[in-house]
Symmetry: C2
Subunit: 403 residues, 2 copies
């Protein structure tokens, strides 16, 4: 008997019809003899609706009360799904965060699940019942309602899978799985059948927004196999598991891109210890997320240039901070607001020579100028002009045999 | 220092602006040195919206899960009100049904509050905090979410007032108080300043839908003074308390009416013990609410006529039952579907001779025929033709000095 955690995101439970539809999915899984714990999000749009109400009252709405407010969204879905299963004559019951309880640590709006009581729910599963659990929330050791920051309901699903010792964790969503690149942009994009946790992390941090990165990290840490699949088709999804279980036939698994980047170069900063820290510390304090950082070797041994990328929305704030920070001396700031980051990701890259060279040559063949380069074990990213993004993705997708 | 329970109904918290408005009401009360516990309903329309969702899934939606679903409505109001108070720099905190906890007994959708833990909330009140509590809900001894049947949030407010030993319980609503008759029909209707629990019960059961009867009953049982007042004006409301504290200057306090009544007369039933029971037992089992019952002395000592009123919607069902019930023998059934009940209510009636006579004379002066009469200690009801309702109310309102 297989114990499964099935997680259904906001669009999968967005209407009563969809809730009835996933009740049928769960029924099928349960009648196949599996033990099912379903983790559900709030109905699509619900959380934003509640956030808007709170914003009408205050743009600094009290965090404790915001968690009380937002947690009602998943409560509604739990009750409706439970009712839909009972209507199908499937034994089912909802459990609220405090009824389990789902114990969390950390601040309001940014808590982490640390434990759950498994006894009552395991008993219910043994009695052939389907347990319905709200994602995205828990309670603190003081008994306050908390919500989980990064990862949301995905993180709850993975935590449930870990704590209940589930065999697998299936993430039902509105896409068929993880693709070799954005299928909306590149029609020949292919669904990836199997992918390692590391690759998935690189892809999702690079803009493939199928699953929350922190949930993938947790799954990797505890080696919980994941599957991302569509709520709306019967197609197989993408299996995500540890690298050693994957047989790589290709060096590159996918091509990712992110838009809305901007590149800033600080020219002529002193080439001495602590300079980079002086630049990035105030940016970090101002909640500006710095992505790629490249520092060239200085030509005159005294000064150097530091290039980095930030989100386009942050560019004015970033320049203001650099100008007002007395510890930073530089000659000039150059910015380019119309850049994109294109990356190839693949755990097979390490063992395949020439991937880097092939990428650069391919882009050069297309007349695409590389503005900056950054590499990691399983990823190679370049910054290019934004209007060349599509051409770059297409070319890379083809030359690495992903079409 | 006065401890007050303030209850805000659905229309009083129907929008963010209204929630901000009641935050100001609470702030004023709190700055006057009162200890405040606020009991809130779901935002107007919210509960119906949730019920509609459940009906889309099943018209026999599981009762346990329905309570999980519906209780989310008050949770949202609690969080928003708490946030609105904190924005006004008033210390405030929401408490959920399970955090207090509000312990209930009885079935889902029809539970009764039996106890609450007062320690933490009293401590919070001592520390000058405003406690926000959801109406209409609690938890069972098994730890399931329950909702309260009759009385809803009014019943919660009265229970909170009782258990926390509050000095007063104020019901904020969308009318100015309890009126001598329906102000929408009779412009000279006057707000009643003081009224006894008994009179309030007679008025509310007669169609003055200002407060739920079961909540008034509980308040009467524990002698908790109530005040019904408007959320939207600064006017004084209606105080409701025990009869001995009211100095009656008028014999009649108010004129009530109910529409949608129908009168049925069963002619020629045997005049022997058990006949009335034989008629009303099957009606009761069929959930038909019988209101007035009049049995005349029989002229021939062998048969009699029994007249009673039911809601107009129930008339077909009622006739069907009477026809199919083999224990009932009668000559004929007469029905009148277009009747209304008009009542005068007043604790002063007992000690004022001639009230009955004055009522009958007044109606006769207007040419209104009385079809049936029923009396109690503090109430005198007549059934008349429906199209004479307004004329009757106007006349009675005038002759009993209520204009």
């Amino acid at each position: 008997m297989v114990k499964k955690v099935l997680k259904f995101g906001g669009t999968s439970v967005g209407t009563v019809e969809r809730i009835q539809h996933i009740a049928h999915i769960i029924k099928k899984e349960q009648l196949s003899g599996n033990k099912i714990i379903a983790v559900v999000s709030a109905m699509a749009g619900k959380t934003n609706e509640l956030i808007n109400l709170s914003n009408e009252i205050s743009d600094e709405f009290n965090k404790r009360e915001l968690d009380v407010l937002l947690s009602s969204g998943e409560q509604i879905t739990c009750a409706l799904l439970s009712g839909a299963l009972l209507k199908l004559k499937i034994k089912a019951q909802s459990w609220m965060n405090w009824q389990i309880p789902i114990l969390t640590e950390g601040e309001h709006a940014n808590a982490r699940i640390v434990n759950m009581n498994t006894e009552k729910i395991n008993q219910f599963l043994d009695d052939k019942g389907v347990a319905i659990i709200p994602g995205f929330q828990g309670i603190s050791n003081k008994g306050d309602i908390t919500t989980i920051g990064r990862g949301g309901s995905d993180a709850t699903a993975v935590a449930v899978a870990k704590i209940f010792n589930a065999d697998t964790c299936e993430i039902y969503t509105d896409v068929d799985g993880v693709f070799s690149t954005d299928p909306n942009k590149i029609p020949v994009a292919k669904k990836i059948e199997k992918i390692s946790f590391d690759e998935m992390l690189e892809l999702s941090s690079l803009g493939a927004k199928v699953m929350q990165s922190s949930a993938v990290q947790t799954a990797m840490m505890y080696d919980i196999p994941l599957e991302v699949r569509s709520t709306f088709t019967e197609r197989k999804g993408t299996k995500i598991f540890s690298q050693e279980n994957i047989d790589y036939t290709k060096s590159v698994t996918g091509v990712a891109y992110s838009k809305d980047d901007a590149k800033i170069t600080v020219i002529g900063v002193e080439d001495k210890p602590g300079v980079a820290a002086n630049i990035f510390e105030p940016l970090s304090k101002a909640q500006i997320n710095v992505d790629m950082v490249i520092q060239n070797i200085s030509s005159d041994q005294k000064t150097t240039d530091i290039t980095f990328t930030v989100k386009r929305d942050d560019i004015l704030k970033t320049k203001k901070i650099l100008k007002n920070e007395s510890k930073i001396n530089y000659k000039q700031i150059i910015q380019n607001e119309k850049v994109a980051k294109v990356s190839i990701v693949g755990a097979g890259m390490v063992s395949t020579p020439g991937v880097t060279y092939r990428m650069f040559r391919a882009l050069s063949d297309e007349g695409i100028n590389i503005l900056a380069i950054s590499t990691s074990e399983i990823k190679l990213s370049v910054i290019i002009d934004e209007d060349k993004t599509l051409a770059a993705i297409k070319k890379l997708h083809t030359i690495f045999d992903l079409d």
